[in-house]
Structures are given as structure tokens and as C-alpha cells.
Symmetry: C2
Amino acid sequence: MRRQEAEALILSAAEKVFAEAGFGGATMQLIADMAGLPKANLHYYFPTKETLYRQVVQNIFQIWLQAADIFDQADGPAEGIGAYIDAKMEISRRHPEGSKVWAAEVMHGAPVIQDYLETTLTEWTNGRISVIERWISEGRMDPIDPRHLLYMLWATTQHYADFGHQIETLNGDTALSDAQWNAAKSSVKGIILKGIGAKDHV
Amino acid sequence: MRRQEAEALILSAAEKVFAEAGFGGATMQLIADMAGLPKANLHYYFPTKETLYRQVVQNIFQIWLQAADIFDQADGPAEGIGAYIDAKMEISRRHPEGSKVWAAEVMHGAPVIQDYLETTLTEWTNGRISVIERWISEGRMDPIDPRHLLYMLWATTQHYADFGHQIETLNGDTALSDAQWNAAKSSVKGIILKGIGAKDHV
DNA sequence: TCTGAACTTGACCATACGGTCAGGATGGCC
DNA sequence: GGCCATCCTGACCGTATGGTCAAGTTCAGA
């Protein structure tokens, strides 16, 4: 097996196990079993449990950042924020494990990715705040505090991944259907875009 | 020390440690140190780690349910949902540890409190859905899918506890001030209440 | 075919953890 | 004071875990 394949296999297994059990609850043996490899092999590619975990979290952060580019390419708040919500909802649907690992990491005080929060995330956030402030000054949306708007976007979209189990339970122990995911998306978009008074066509 | 005092002391310490380290990462020794008691004493009051954890989660759920009563006592959506947001934001501020433990528990598939999700939470949710549907039929708010509105309320308010560390980092490594908490509350309330077209005075 | 670097793995080790227990302290009550 | 139930705790134990290692296996390239 090539190095790349092996690492991808292990990372995928690790993401699942870390998401389900947390860093402390996850064991290298569990990850090894899920990847179908002997435990010692994991340590060949990733020297320590923490190395492996760090890599998992970094991968998630990358996906997360990519989706965020949509924000800038947009012409106005309805389009930009709408597309951003769609993108983040799609990530919540396709990569719920990653979202959970990220959430757990932050909840525990970000011991591993604190530097990312202080550099990349801070810069990205400030950039987006500028965009929102411009939209506001152009009268294309209400004068909302951009920070709290961003928090709301993160919270609502990631909730569908992080609290997916609760949502499924309340949905009669059934995963959301395509139609229900669409309903979720349009509910979130509808409420937020109306709530901030987004006007793309002034 | 009375039984009640000792248990309260241990539960408080346990809540903190479970929130910071997760169930798997928490150790009885850590909890004991934080409570200022020898480890063996913890096992006198709580036979196993899981017993202790279960008790912590149940306590959180109780607080959570109490705050939810506000919903019904209200006259209309703006008042009811507004008060509910205030109450949940206040819990996020005062009991961030509890919120984190709850979030982690749900993220890991609710191994300990699944029965609560299926009984109490389901009933509470259905009750609130009825209230919201009544408000809609009375024309006091837009025809929103009540479920997704509830998810949005939970997500946005709990985000300030669960992702408090991230928010503090983006706030220049400073805890939110009173003014900032008020800004957060009114931002959330403003966007959501406008977003659902809440009209208490038709 | 030979060589060596990359890869694989069963067996092993030190440690840390949840949990036990026996013996002792405490304090209310007669 | 004497008795008893409750409470407290240092020392201990079995186990599971992260990590190591030495002995292989594989395979590309000379």
C-alpha cells in the first residue's frame, strides 16, 4: 500500500473514532480495527496518538476554510450568505464526523489548534467582517453586528452535524431525508436572510 | 460534611472536569483533586465514574428544562421566543460547563441519556411545536417549520457556551463583557424575531 | 539475482486508570 | 462513657492503553 493510501485510510478511520468517542475515549486499537490494520502499523505512519489527532483536525479546518471562499465571490448578502449557508449545511451533511471533532476540540479549549484560531481563523473572520460592514454601509442589509451574525451562521449550520443524533431522535430515529435537508436549508436561509434584511437588488 | 454538601461539591468538580476533558479524558483523580477530596471518597458517594457522569448530565437536563417553561407563559412569539432566547443565553453564560457536557454527550450518540431524548425531550419538543403552530395559524408569525426554528434557537444560544473558547479567542482572548453579552442577546433576538416575522401586536 | 529502503507486525513494556478494601475517625444518641 | 452507623482514606490490584522494538516481508532498481 502506498504511503498516501495508508495515511488516508488511517485518517478516515481516526476521524470516525475520534468523533464517536472523543480524544480521550478513542484508542489506537479501535482506530486500527476500523482501518483494518495492526496497531503497530498506525504508529509507523503517525508516531503518536496526538500526531494523528492533530492531522485529523487540520484536515477538517482545511475543508471548512475552502467552503468559506464562497462568501467573497458573491455580489451581495443574500447571495453570499445564502451560498455560505448552503455550503456549510452540505458539509454538515457530508462530513458530520469532522464537524464533531472540531467542536470537541474547541469545547476542550482548543489544546491542539489554538494557533489556528489565533492566526488563520482570526484573519478569515476579520476579512468577512469587512465584507459584511461594506454591505451594511451600502444599505444592502440591516446594521447587524457582523460577529454575532457569523456566530449564528456557524452555530446553526454546524448544529445539524454536531447534534445530528438528537435531530434524528426527534425525527423518529430516522436520518433526515433529502427533502428534509432541503427544508432545513431553506428554513435557515429564510429566517436569517429575512432577519438581517438582506437586499441584493436595491 | 453532610452527604448533600459532599455530593454537590463532587458534582460541581465533575462538571468542570467532564466539560474540559470529555468523559474519556476525565479521570477520577482529576475530579478528586478539583474537589479537594481523596479519590476513594468519590467512590464512596458515586460507585462508578459512569454513575457520577450520569448524575452530572441529568442535572444539566433539569436546568435546561426549567428554563424552557418560559415559552408557554408568553402571550405571543416575540415575547415567548424572546424570553426563551434570553433565558438560554443566560444559561450559556452561567453554566457553560453543563452545556458542554450535554453537547459532548449528544455528539457521542447520547449513550447515557438516550432515554431522555426519546421521552422527555420529544414530549417537550412536540408541545412547543404545537404552540408555534398555533401562533402561525393565528397569523402572529410567518409559516416557519417549527422544528428548524427550535433547532436554530438551541444552536445559536448554546453556541455561546460550547464555542465560548473560540469566541473569546476572536474577542482578543478576552471573555465577553456585560455589554457584549447584551449585544449578543439582542443580535440573536433581533435577527430571529425579524426573521420569523413575529408580531405580538397585530 | 542482489541490495537496500520502505513497510509490516506480533510480542512486549511501563504507566495510568477505575475500582476495592480494611482499618480508622467522627459524631449523634442512649 | 459506650455504641453504632456513617463517613473517610492510604494502600493496593487487575487491566487497558500508548508506545517500542526487533525480526521479518516486499519490491523497485541496478
